[in-house]
Amino acid sequence: MIRRFGPVWTAPVALGLLTLVGLVSALVGDGVWDALSALALGSVAAVGAWCSLRRPKSARRPR
């Protein structure tokens, strides 16, 4: 289990931390803090969009 923790959980933990940074920073202040928040949450959203929308070139949809 320990051996498998890294490969499975590295990305989810990193995205979770980014989300937390994004959610909290806009609460702390305006201006720079809002920008940091948008950057952090935006990168999480971008990862989700990229992984779910990309199509491998060779992929053929089965019927």
Binding site: V8, L15, A38, S52, R55
Partner: protein
């Protein structure tokens, strides 16, 4: 992870999700327009046009402001008055037939001239009002709220059990894999896992703060029954307030009691934020965080004398700080857009989850989850 352990978590995930899915879909869909509440109310022409005046134009006497509102609806009483931090030129008045009137009348009064500006539609007009009620209480008051709060709790259980199940499903896949070459069911399983884990922390925070929000009425009742009841004790046996003290003076007293803060809203006697004998004047700061932390100043509504000032109990402060984390209204347009994207991703997770259950097939039902994982990877 042992097969038995896995089967239990799978059962928990399946049932917590199935019971709450329809309501979660409703909350996600009705939540979308609520993110853009201000913009939609503006587009529908339901907001107030505020005349531009030179900066530093003196503000009208507050008793004049109240008189203007009351004159428009003789017979009604004042429930609340409030002002937005970014629109100090307007006092929003709420009038009703009684202090807890659900069919209250919102009015906008110019803070500089003291004249009635507009009669905004209640809850932003019929469309936004419907979205609001479907999202907040299903038109069923406190019990509707508590029911949706319980659905929120089930969502949290579904999210946590989903995390437990994520690992065995992903042990042979690299992060973000969507197997387009496989059947639709496998593709949608991958999408469900991917978007579920990407939106996890957002969904946990929005779900938990939404659940806390459903307890707002209860928490106010606790405050009423404890600290406010203590304040009301000396008034036992006294008749209700006959002539309300000057609001202009009450605000001046409150500003002295909370230096450096400004009035957020005033609750009139008998409303849930005051006592039958007090004005509840809620002062706040103008920074991102301090604007959420209200300081209540209780003022004798008959004499205008200061009765008490202090901080809200921790549970009400926690509620107020948790609200922006649910609404997504604290970081400008960028945050609203991100709230929209995460909301849509959550809708995809709900629909793919429902699809996976509908298309489980007859054999799948008979086969335990550990075999299905083996097949899926």
């Amino acid at each position: 992870m042992t097969p038995l352990y896995l089967r239990r978590w799978s059962w928990i995930h399946k049932w917590s999700s199935l019971v709450s899915t329809v309501f979660m879909l409703l909350l996600c869909v009705t939540g979308l327009p609520l993110i853009y509440h201000h913009e939609i109310v503006h587009a529908l022409g339901n907001d107030t046009e505020v005349p531009v005046m030179a900066p530093g134009t003196p503000r009208a006497d507050l008793d004049q402001v109240i008189a203007s509102g009351m004159a428009a609806y003789p017979g009604k009483i004042m429930m609340y008055m409030s002002q937005e931090i970014d629109e100090p030129a307007v006092w929003n008045l709420t009038l009703g037939d009684n202090p807890t009137d659900e069919h209250y009348k919102p009015l906008a009064v110019d803070a500089r001239t003291g004249k009635l500006l507009a009669e905004p539609a209640r809850e932003g007009g019929p469309f936004m009002s419907m979205m609001f009620h479907l999202h907040v209480d299903l038109y069923a008051g406190l019990w509707g709220k508590l029911f949706l709060g319980f659905m929120g709790l089930l969502l949290l259980v579904a999210l946590m059990s989903g995390v437990v199940l994520y690992a065995p499903f992903m042990r042979k896949l690299s992060f973000g894999t969507v197997r387009h070459e496989r059947s639709r069911r496998v593709r949608w399983l991958d999408l469900h896992n991917l978007l579920g884990i990407v939106t996890l922390v957002w969904a946990l925070v929005v779900g938990a703060t939404g659940m806390i929000n459903t307890w707002a009425d209860l928490l106010l009742k606790v405050w009423q029954a404890t600290e406010l009841a203590e304040l009301t004790k000396p008034y036992a046996g006294l008749p209700p307030v006959t002539k309300l003290a000057s609001m202009q003076q009450a605000i001046a007293t409150a500003e002295k009691a909370a230096p450096g803060m400004q009035v957020g809203f005033v609750a009139f006697p008998g409303t849930p934020f005051a006592t039958p004998h007090h004005y509840g004047v809620f002062m706040h700061g103008d920074q991102a965080l301090t604007s959420r932390l209200y300081k209540p100043v209780l003022i004798d509504a008959q004499t205008g004398a200061l009765s008490a000032s202090g901080n809200l109990p921790w549970y009400l402060s926690a509620l107020l700080v948790s609200q922006p984390l649910h609404f997504g209204d604290y970081g400008g347009q960028a945050l609203k857009l991100l709230w929209t994207l995460f909301d849509i991703a959550t809708i995809v997770v709900l629909i793919t989850g429902l699809y996976l259950w509908l298309k489980r097939g007859r054999e799948t039902v008979a086969r335990p989850v550990e075999q299905r994982i083996g097949e899926a990877v």
